[in-house]
Amino acid sequence: MYRYDEFDAAIVKERAEQFRGQVERRLKGEITEDQFKPLRLMNGVYLQLHAYMLRIAIPYGTLRADQMRTFAHIARKYDKGYGHWTTRQNIQFNWVALKDIPDVLDELAGVEMHAIQTSGNCIRNTTSDQFAGATAEEIADPRPWCEIIRQWSTFHPEFSFLPRKFKIAVTAAEHDRAAIRVHDIGLHMRKNAEGETGFEVIVGGGQGRTPHVGVTIRDFVGEDQLLDYLEAVMRVYNRFGRRDNKYKARIKILVNETGADEFAKLVEAEFEAQKDAEKIVLPQAEIDRISAYFAAPDFETLPEASSAFEEAKAKDAAFARWARVNTRAHKQAGYSIVTISCKPIGAPPGDVSHKQMEVTADLAEKFSFEEIRITHEQNMVLPHVKLDDLYEVYQTLEAAGLATANYELISDIICCPGLDYCNLANARSIPVAQELQNTFADIERQDDIGELKIKISGCINACGHHHVGHIGILGVDRKGEEFYQITFGGRSDEKAAIGQIAGPGLRAEDVPPALERVIEKYREVRSEPSERFIDALERLGHDPFKEALYAAD
């Protein structure tokens, strides 16, 4: 994993000290809230409904065990004992007092963490495939490139006052787990005809009020040219992106209004016009230096199969189910990728207690080379666990309430904080998720339903990714009453699509029975059990499911 060099460490420490002074001046009344607000936002401090919220960056969702322990300590000492994973692979603490935040930032700096660029109109935390470096599906580990982008973009003077916030995601696997097509820029690592590694560049994706699927403007940019090309995209956006209307300021609007072809031409022209002196020289030695931080850990040479694993599955059916649902193939024989569900039935999706953080850190230390990943679907991952160790890992998770076998199933719901926390919300989202989880609690039934992604947002800002849920749920306010608009057919993978609104909104209490009817319809009409909901939707169209949704009316 990447380790800070002296410059990184100095910058983060200095920033924490600066913020301590700013907070002191605010508390003494020496600066006004208007003066302070941009400063706190630059350090990830938001004001929510009933408390401040601190958002901490987890670069590309990769964490060390000691960093997780620091989160646990912060949760215990400064918060109410828990944290919340976000859909940008970050963590939010919902109850931190402003007066304590400088101390929290100091504690974070001690483990190479910070809250810089988790807010504001800058390039935010670059996100990635949570299985990076572990899956056999990828052509390379995308994380060195996320780190290179992080170093390039952090405090980049030209891009610290963009028209709007800017989000980049990178993947190197054909199956897209990083939702790159709904990012401002999505980078898909590819090989060209010569066998060189580079990037397909996708721009203009995004959710929110005006959702768009990104478009490819370049099939291949070589590694050595990546930063120059990104800089060209950013310059075109910075020059032509709208600043007069917050709702039209994202790059997706510019790409859509300009037309993808024309936008691509503007970028190419900017790319060509970059003078030699401006080019960012990215020598191979530097790429190699950063890549070395992400070198594969010291895997043991093991057989493909593990008799201990097979025996444990034979004697413990719940473990066998969990192993089938929550683990994925590893590139190294004898190892496995473990998804730790943070969606136990009936609990707020993505919330983890300080105790669960400690347990996860223990497991990472003992069984996964100290590494943990946070997923944009609000779960955790132990990326490198030996098959031989899976049963012990499972039993420890089970004891900590972290062994729900629902990865990618109907109760593995993405859910934003909604009106229970968020100052911008129109409606609650967590209670809807909880009710749905209770409705579909039966694990056999979930298993039978198969992969189905429900995503819930409490307002049109779409932090809960409802636009790309197989079933999306958007909370709206109608004269003080919560209503929920249902969409079908969204997806954020390699076939990314924006969901279509099914019809009139539903009351909260009507959502679970309505979705139950939809699911029963799906089970009735699927061609075979392996046909997923999203595939059935594609094959049959939305009408049968819409009919089921409103069948009670």
């Binding site: 402003l98 009106l419 926390y421 209670p431």
Partner: protein
């Protein structure tokens, strides 16, 4: 600066609410111009008195931020179009019952 919330007619009973600067906690303005975390301590105001109370709150920004007027019932409980939002601000998230502040008895809605 004050938060923008729905407009309320002059005769609607209201209290001034804001956030405590140091902690971010929800607070309500009392008759003495101080701030309390208990809605039952809040001063209910209407008409010009409400405008004055809000203006005074806006200048109190060492202690609080983003003050605004919220609707209350004649008895001083949460009321009106934003009842749910203000109940959550007063009592905490509906999803983590452990965090409820209800034991303070602030909710009379």
């Amino acid at each position: 600066m004050s938060s923008v919330r729905p407009k309320l007619g002059p005769d609607v009973p209201k209290v001034i609410t804001a956030w405590d600067v140091a902690t971010g906690a929800t607070v309500y303005r009392t008759q003495s111009g101080d701030w309390s975390q208990d809605l039952s301590d809040a001063e209910t105001v209407t008409g010009e008195a409400a405008d004055k109370a809000l203006s005074a709150a806006v200048t109190d920004e060492t202690r609080i931020l983003d003050p605004y007027v919220m609707e209350v019932s004649d008895e001083g409980g949460v009321a009106g179009r934003e009842t749910l939002r203000e109940t959550i601000r007063a009592t905490g998230p509906t999803t983590h019952p452990d965090f409820h502040k209800a034991e303070r008895g602030v909710i009379n809605a």
